[in-house]
């Protein structure tokens, strides 16, 4: 079914800033304003603001909320206190990834799930199909919340100065609710760039107010173009590229977010099997000469046999090196292995490296 493309509550502001717009996850989103390189560097060296209102939010409440979230989520929510956040996945029984998400523990019986825009409907259907035996309420808050991300080494200073809120006491992967302009907003010390930063959830009216506040203060507006180059350099996965219904978290090298000591969660049996017998893995590759390895390009071994595909690739803006993440057969995933990326009918030699192309600068 063809669905109408949606707009975030900041759409008019992107148009006014002359952003280059493009569909992403069902929304007409800003890809760039001043240019991807400039925006990328603003986040690495200074601070930038992103509209991430396309992201979905789901509230799980009720006396069995903890039990239920623990059952559908790979990470261990029973281990965390209120105000903490966990990253992890929802899996299918076969271990394939339904989505990757953040889980905020709002209260003893209240969890706030932040999910990918493209997966909102699928995730809701999945969550509802799994909750039959649990006393929980599931509420889709995606149309209520706008979301902005303030990212970069100066984000704490700028956020405090412009809003008057104290956020310096927020640790990495924690959040607080703040009473602000007549509503409760949520600020978390999280992001998707490999830099220190914050994500802020509030009503559309708040989101529009906050966007103007930062833009008028001269903070660089940043589009999804640099959001991708930034997360890529930090080795963070993007659903549909490094995780999917075909790519489970073990293949993606994200086993640390799958807690096998939990008594039960959907997909556990399959993951046990994959831990014993993994056939493919996401690796990093660095080309030995300059070209651009892009998603989907084929990867061959010395004998010319197809052994994988690029999942995301760029000439890294921070290092200038031609690098990519790729899903390859397990026999070719050892560090130092030479493989060949086919780019416009020419094979470029590449070496398997760690899939992190930039050292993350989180404030811990």
């Amino acid at each position: 079914m063809e669905e109408e493309i949606k707009r975030t509550c900041l759409y008019d502001k992107h148009i006014a800033l002359n952003a280059k717009m493009s569909p992403f996850g069902g929304f007409d989103m800003p890809i760039q304003y001043s240019g991807i390189t400039n925006e990328h560097n603003a986040v690495r060296n200074d601070v930038g603001i992103f509209d991430v209102s396309h992201m979905g939010q789901v509230m799980i409440t009720g006396e069995q909320a903890e039990e239920f979230v623990d059952y559908i989520f790979t990470n261990d929510v029973t281990s965390i206190a209120e105000g903490k956040i966990l990253y992890g996945m929802m899996l299918m029984q076969n271990g394939g990834t339904v989505d990757d998400l953040l889980v905020y523990k709002m209260g003893p019986n209240q969890y706030f799930l932040v999910i990918n825009a493209a997966n909102i409907d699928k995730d809701l259907n999945w969550i509802i199909s799994q909750n039959k035996n649990f006393k929980v309420g599931v509420e889709n808050m995606s149309d209520y919340y706008g979301e902005i991300a303030i990212q970069g080494p100066k984000s704490e200073t700028v956020l405090e100065k412009l809003t008057g809120l104290k956020v310096s006491d927020l640790e990495f992967y924690t959040f607080k609710e703040y009473a602000y302009r007549g509503e409760n907003i949520i600020i978390s010390r999280t992001g998707y760039t490999g830099e220190d930063g914050f994500e802020i959830y509030g009503s559309h009216a708040f989101t529009q107010y906050a966007w103007d506040l930062f833009i008028q203060a001269g903070i660089t507006p940043c589009g999804l173009g640099c959001r991708d180059t930034l997360r890529f350099e930090a080795g963070l996965p993007l659903y549909g590229h490094e995780l999917s219904e075909e790519i489970n978290p073990i293949m993606a090298g994200l086993g640390m977010f799958v807690k096998m000591d939990k008594p039960n969660f959907i997909g556990k049996e399959a993951i046990l099997h994959y831990k014993e017998d993994l056939t493919k893995k996401i690796v990093g590759l660095e080309l030995t000469e300059k070209s651009v390895p892009r998603a989907g390009y084929e990867i061959y071994n010395e004998d010319g046999k197809l052994v994988g595909n690029v999942t995301t690739g760029y000439i890294s803006i921070s290092s200038g090196l031609p690098v990519c993440m790729a899903l390859v057969k397990i026999d070719y995933s050892t560090l130092g292995t030479t493989l060949y990326v086919k780019i416009r009918n020419k094979n470029f030699a590449a070496t398997v490296i760690r899939k992190q192309f930039y050292k993350k600068n989180y404030k811990k």
């Binding site: 280059k20 890809i31 760039q32 240019g35 991807i36 390189t37 400039n38 173009g225 180059t229 300059k290 070209s291 651009v292 892009r294 760029y314 000439i315 803006i317 031609p322 416009r344």
Partner: protein, 125 residues
């Protein structure tokens, strides 16, 4: 507003060409570089390679996308712009000064079917 230069001929795929003394100089238009965004790599042919009017001879890659280059005329590659190897962003700074390839053995008749500056400009009005 995309800049268009008088005296050049333009293709539908937004390359420009100028033929002087039997040598064709080929580049991409200001519209093309604006559409691409930050150029990070230019894939250029070998010197001595034969290129054919309308056929792919290389690619310009921005951060987000690869865009094939199509030759507006046929000829033999005489020179490639080595400056673009180290500084591909020159194509963003001035796509008319920073040509991509120079061809010899070209035929002025190949200019037929290309747009002059006024016609090309009209595409954006």
């Amino acid at each position: 507003m995309a800049k268009v230069i008088e005296g050049l001929f333009y293709s539908e795929s937004h390359e420009w060409v100028k033929i002087e003394d039997g040598i064709a100089t080929v580049g991409i238009s200001d519209f093309a570089q604006k559409e691409l965004g930050d150029v990070v790599y230019v894939d250029m042919p070998e010197i001595g390679a034969t290129v054919t009017k309308g056929s792919e001879f290389g690619a310009v890659e921005s951060v987000k996308a690869a865009s094939d280059l199509y030759s507006p005329v046929s000829g033999t590659v005489l020179q490639v712009n080595q400056d673009l190897t180290d500084s591909p962003e020159l194509l963003n700074q001035d796509p008319y000064t920073n040509w991509i390839i120079r061809l010899e053995n070209v035929d002025n008749a190949d200019l037929a079917g290309l747009m002059d500056a006024a016609t090309y400009q009209n595409k954006f009005n």
